[in-house]
């Protein structure tokens, strides 16, 4: 059987190998990866991709376990890409997210892949988009992407997911002041976790802080409303409301074309990114071969030519090649 067929059929090992391929830093693998992805793009599935972002320790993994358990009970197939922040100086890492996803990882209707973030963006890693295309083709209903780094919400939202949710802890409302704008703009759902035990009242307060923060936000006429939800991942409370909200947002955004527009934008963005990368790569090669930069800078040092004239000359030179 062909690799692509195996993936589409949902063979676990093939999906896993495909993700390895798209994450690989080897040049050869990159070519193969492009080939594979373009084939898979012809076999789109029906996944909804949801991002879960938030600072370390707020309970993203625990929430995914808890919410995931709720979904698999309803017979949904669930693909999870967990980007683990724990990279070290030496470059190695301990990937521990799965120790928080014990129940769902046993379920045959889940596929869970952890990837070390390698510190690149502190959030999204190389290959995350491609991995979600693989899981989509393999027939997963939902694809969850767990990332750290609230600062990356824009990249995440505009690049990768249909719904972007931010998980926060009780008491985090105070931090809202400074970052109000960015957050309210990109997140579709705010999930206040740890709404349990002693933390309950603090959690409610945080939720109202967020509610008042998003009230400043002027949404485009038809887009779905942003929601603030209270959950306890540990006690598995508030989960119906989460799925309800997700389904509502999907429904409404599909109706008003927001959903497709967002995906179209992501494609445009993706293409732009790839083009940029290819050009950058070839320019870098040209610069290396050409050698005119060092030649000209010597001339600048020797006073033979003005710096900005030199830059102009070099650029001209490279563009003509």
């Amino acid at each position: 059987m062909q690799f692509v067929e195996k993936i589409v059929k949902g063979e676990r090992a093939a999906i896993a190998k495909a993700i390895t391929l798209v994450e690989s830093s080897r040049e050869n693998d990159k070519k193969e990866s492009r080939k594979l992805i373009s084939e898979l793009l012809n076999k789109p599935g029906k996944s909804i991709r949801i991002g879960f972002s938030g600072p370390p320790g707020v309970g993203k993994s625990t929430f995914i376990e808890s919410f995931g358990r709720y979904l698999v009970e309803k017979n949904y197939k669930l693909g999870i890409l967990a980007i683990d922040p724990s990279s070290q100086i030496t470059g190695g890492s301990i990937l521990g997210d799965k120790t928080r996803m014990i129940e769902i990882s046993k379920n045959p209707n889940t596929f869970i892949r952890s990837t070390p973030s390698r510190g690149s963006l502190g959030g999204i890693s190389i290959g995350t988009r491609e991995a979600s295309i693989i899981l989509d083709a393999a027939g997963y209903d939902f694809i969850f992407i767990e990332t750290v780094g609230v600062g990356q919400s824009e990249i995440m939202a505009t690049n990768l997911v249909d719904i972007f949710s931010l998980i926060v802890g009780p008491g985090s409302g105070d931090e809202l002041q400074g970052i109000k704008k960015g957050i309210t703009e990109y997140a579709d759902i705010f999930i206040v976790n740890k709404n349990d035990g002693d933390l309950k009242s603090e959690a409610s307060k945080t939720a109202s802080d967020y509610k008042s923060a998003i009230s400043y936000y002027k949404k485009s006429s038809e887009a779905a409303d942003k929601e603030v939800l209270l959950v306890s991942a540990i006690e598995q409370t508030g989960m119906e409301k989460v799925i309800e909200t997700i389904q509502n947002i999907v429904l409404q955004n599909k109706k008003n074309k927001n959903f497709d527009e967002r995906r179209a934008k992501q494609f445009t963005y993706w293409i732009e990114e790839e083009v940029r990368e290819i050009i950058q790569f070839s320019i870098q090669n040209k610069i290396k071969e050409d050698g005119s930069i060092s030649k000209f800078s010597q001339k600048v040092m020797d006073g033979e030519i003005q710096m900005f004239d030199a830059i102009e000359a070099i650029t001209q030179n490279l563009q003509n090649k």
Partner: protein, 718 residues
């Protein structure tokens, strides 16, 4: 003014520096606890001590010198060997033999399914029945365990924490059915759940309901079982998991404080239950430190209990059991272990323990054989009968060194206790996972010292025996034990009054919901022949089963090896592997079955990560099927199985099968680490295991083997 003392000291210092050519200020050594040990101690070192009172005598507050005035001069410590394996029948035979040969008290080791509240017929415990202790499924097993052992005369200690309710209930009912009323039962139930969450890992329910159960037991026993110790507050497992002595001491006493609070919350008067709190410490190889630890523990507990407002003297006295350290014992050149254990035992005695277990020399290989158990017991008989150590109480009192060490340990531990108190106590700290992480950090440091050779372990990293001796091994056929147990369970289930069972279990559930005392209800259910698993599951309906989320230390191992050639060599190999393969070598490290020994797995994981590996850390208690799914989804290069509780012969082949089931062409390299008797090596190799790393393995060397094996596999396949 120059005193004679200081003149002498100056003279001595001069001679010392001449002899050693070292400046005295630089001649101190540092212990794991970060305590500076000087080459000499003088009178000046025991003036102005903070906790120790130099004028106090044995049996007098603050009890530094011992809980009683006469100590071993009146009655020696109790020789209490911890044992249990396979069926109740076999363990019972073993106990009776030992009692005949001079052992005084019994101490029951249960198997892991019992610890975790599963019956032997549960699918989850396939590889674990009877392997690391005795299997108890019903009160009938408990009765067999004490067959011909009169429970009104024998003091019985039971290491049980998770499934404490059904097991203690079975003990009470077994007594009743021997015609011994519960108020005559003597002994100890460990019942220390906090350290389970930290290091021992046989918890069942989440921390809060677990603490309620502890309090229920203290409440019940304080009223109904006056001769029974309701808890054994244990530091032992912490040291075995890697804690240094200050951590062990501080966390144990902080746990004690938390239990006292839990009992007080039941409305009990402190003097009603405090005299029945007992302790349990490990005695490692640091000879004087261990002596000082026991003396410090008594000193601090006195202070703690006085602050709680205890009036009865017995409430303020810390009584303890001790066990020599298992982790100090080696697989290599195992007869050395007899010597190590002897020194440790002497330490415990000089520290004034009330009872003692000495380990067998085959500790790092398997459960003790009859022969190795005999030698271990004789270690104590020789100490009691031949050495004269019982003739004088606290013979090291007044030693400048020991007294000052006692005080210093007390101070250091007190700081940590206060820190924990300021965080809101041990339950909170345990939930946040901080103590566990601190212990793992300490364990990782110790490993780095051994792997780098900074710490010598004779026969392991120095003075190796070129001709390793062959030793006999106790073999347990867990399939046979499991079949026997299942048959017994089925028989009982067929003959019992099912309605009565259902009713008593339903009552237990209600009691859990209503927050009333659970032990009384659980005794009823057990009397009706409900199984240990059924009682545990009933409570699970209310409380849920606890899954631990654990944090990992990072950078601790690597830091010790900055600039080290072997370490850098592996790191380099990892880097070129990444260049060649487009990603780092990725290894999944797992624990399967009910084996909760996670020290080795966690240390190996953090060390491998420090060398540049990507390490997936599996949770505890995975099934082989779960591991296979996890490994394949993450497309790891290798799986490292860490197995210490003897489940390997069942679980490893099961894993290999599961891998092939998901991916018939799986190329994942599988290797195994932990306690594996040598005679099992061939069996594992036949099951396509690529390498085995036994106790004492150097982690850097292991990492190199692993990356080489992975690379070989990739090259062969291309």
């Amino acid at each position: 003014m120059k005193t004679k003392n200081s003149e002498n000291y100056t003279k001595w210092q001069k001679s010392f520096e001449q002899e050693t050519k070292i400046d005295l200020n630089e001649a101190s050594s540092e212990t794991d606890e970060g305590i500076k040990i000087k080459p000499v101690y003088t009178k000046a070192d025991i003036e102005n001590l903070s906790f120790v009172d130099n004028d106090s005598l044995p049996g007098q507050l603050p009890y530094t010198r011992g809980p009683r005035a006469s100590m071993y001069t009146n009655r020696p410590w109790t020789i209490r060997q911890y044992a249990g394996f396979s069926t109740a029948e076999e363990s019972n035979e073993f106990y009776k033999k030992n009692l005949k040969s001079g052992q005084k008290g019994l101490s029951v080791a249960f198997d892991l399914p019992t610890h975790r509240g599963y019956d032997s017929d549960d699918d989850l415990v396939m590889g674990d029945v009877g392997k690391a202790g005795v299997a108890i499924d019903t009160v009938e097993d408990m009765k067999i365990l004490f067959n011909d052992i009169p429970l009104n005369q024998m003091s019985v200690s039971m290491t049980m924490n998770g499934a404490v309710l059904p097991v203690l209930s079975s003990f009470v009912v077994a007594g009743e059915e021997q015609n011994v009323n519960k108020n005559l039962l003597s002994g100890t139930i460990q019942n220390d759940i906090l350290k389970e969450f930290m290091v021992r890992n046989t918890y069942i329910y989440p921390p809060d309901p677990s603490m309620k159960i502890v309090a229920d037991i203290i409440e019940f026993t304080s009223k109904e079982m006056p001769k029974f110790n309701s808890i054994s507050i244990s530091g032992y497992h912490m040291q075995e998991a890697g804690a240094d002595n200050v951590l062990e001491l501080a966390y144990t006493l902080a746990d004690g404080i938390e239990y006292v609070r839990a009992a007080l919350s039941k409305g009990l008067d402190i003097d009603d239950f405090a005299p029945r709190l007992s302790f349990f410490f490990a005695i490692g190889t640091d000879f004087f430190m261990e002596i000082a630890k026991l003396r410090a523990a008594r000193t601090l507990w006195y202070k703690i209990m006085k602050d709680f407002g205890a009036k009865n003297e017995k409430s303020m006295i810390l009584r303890t059991h001790c066990q020599t350290s298992g982790v100090s014992l080696t697989e290599k050149d195992p007869y050395n272990n007899i010597i190590r254990t002897s020194y440790e035992a002497l330490s415990a005695i000089l520290g004034g323990t009330q009872s003692l277990h000495t380990n067998s020399f085959d500790e790092a290989i398997a459960l003790p054989t009859d022969e190795s158990a005999r030698i271990a017991r004789n270690t104590q008989l020789i100490l009691q009968n031949e050495t004269g150590v019982t003739n004088t109480v606290d013979p090291l009192a007044g030693s400048y060194f020991v007294e000052s060490l006692t005080d210093e340990l007390s101070k250091k531990a007190w700081e940590i206790i206060e820190e924990i108190e300021s965080l809101g106590g041990m339950t909170k700290a345990v939930k946040a996972g901080v103590p566990k992480l601190k212990i793992e950090e300490s364990a990782t440091k110790k490993q780095a010292k051994v792997d780098s050779g900074t710490r010598v372990v004779v026969g392991v990293n120095k003075f190796k025996n070129p001709k390793e001796p062959k030793v006999d091994v106790r073999v347990i056929d867990n399939n046979r034990v499991r079949d026997d147990q299942i048959k017994k369970i089925n028989d009982i289930k067929a003959s019992r009054d099912q309605k009565a069972v259902d009713k008593s279990l339903a009552k237990l559930v209600i009691a859990a919901k209503e927050d009333s005392n659970l032990l009384a209800c659980s005794i009823d259910a057990i009397k009706n022949r409900a199984t240990v698993g059924e009682v545990s599951k009933a409570l699970e309906q209310v409380y849920g089963r606890h899954f631990a989320t654990s944090l990992s230390v990072s950078g601790v191992y690597g830091k010790h090896f900055e600039g080290d050639e072997d370490f850098m060599n592996v790191a380099k190999k990892v880097n070129s592997f990444e260049k060649e393969n487009g990603r780092r070598p990725r290894v999944l490290i797992v624990k399967m079955g009910q084996d909760g020994h996670d020290r080795g797995a966690k240390i190996v994981a953090t060390s491998f990560a420090d060398m540049g590996f990507d390490v997936d850390m599996g949770p505890l208690f995975q099934s082989p099927k779960d591991v296979a799914k996890d490994a394949i989804e993450n497309d790891v290069h290798a799986i490292g199985v860490s197995t210490l509780a003897a489940g390997h012969k069942t679980l490893v082949p099961e894993l290999m099968k599961s891998l092939k089931q998901i991916d018939p062409k799986s190329k994942i390299v599988v290797f195994v680490g932990g306690v594996i008797p040598e005679q099992d090596y061939d069996f594992l190799y036949e099951n396509n295991i690529s390498a085995i790393f036994g106790p004492g393995s150097n982690i850097i060397e292991s990492a190199e083997t692993v990356i080489d094996l992975i690379s070989d596999k990739i090259h062969k396949d291309n």
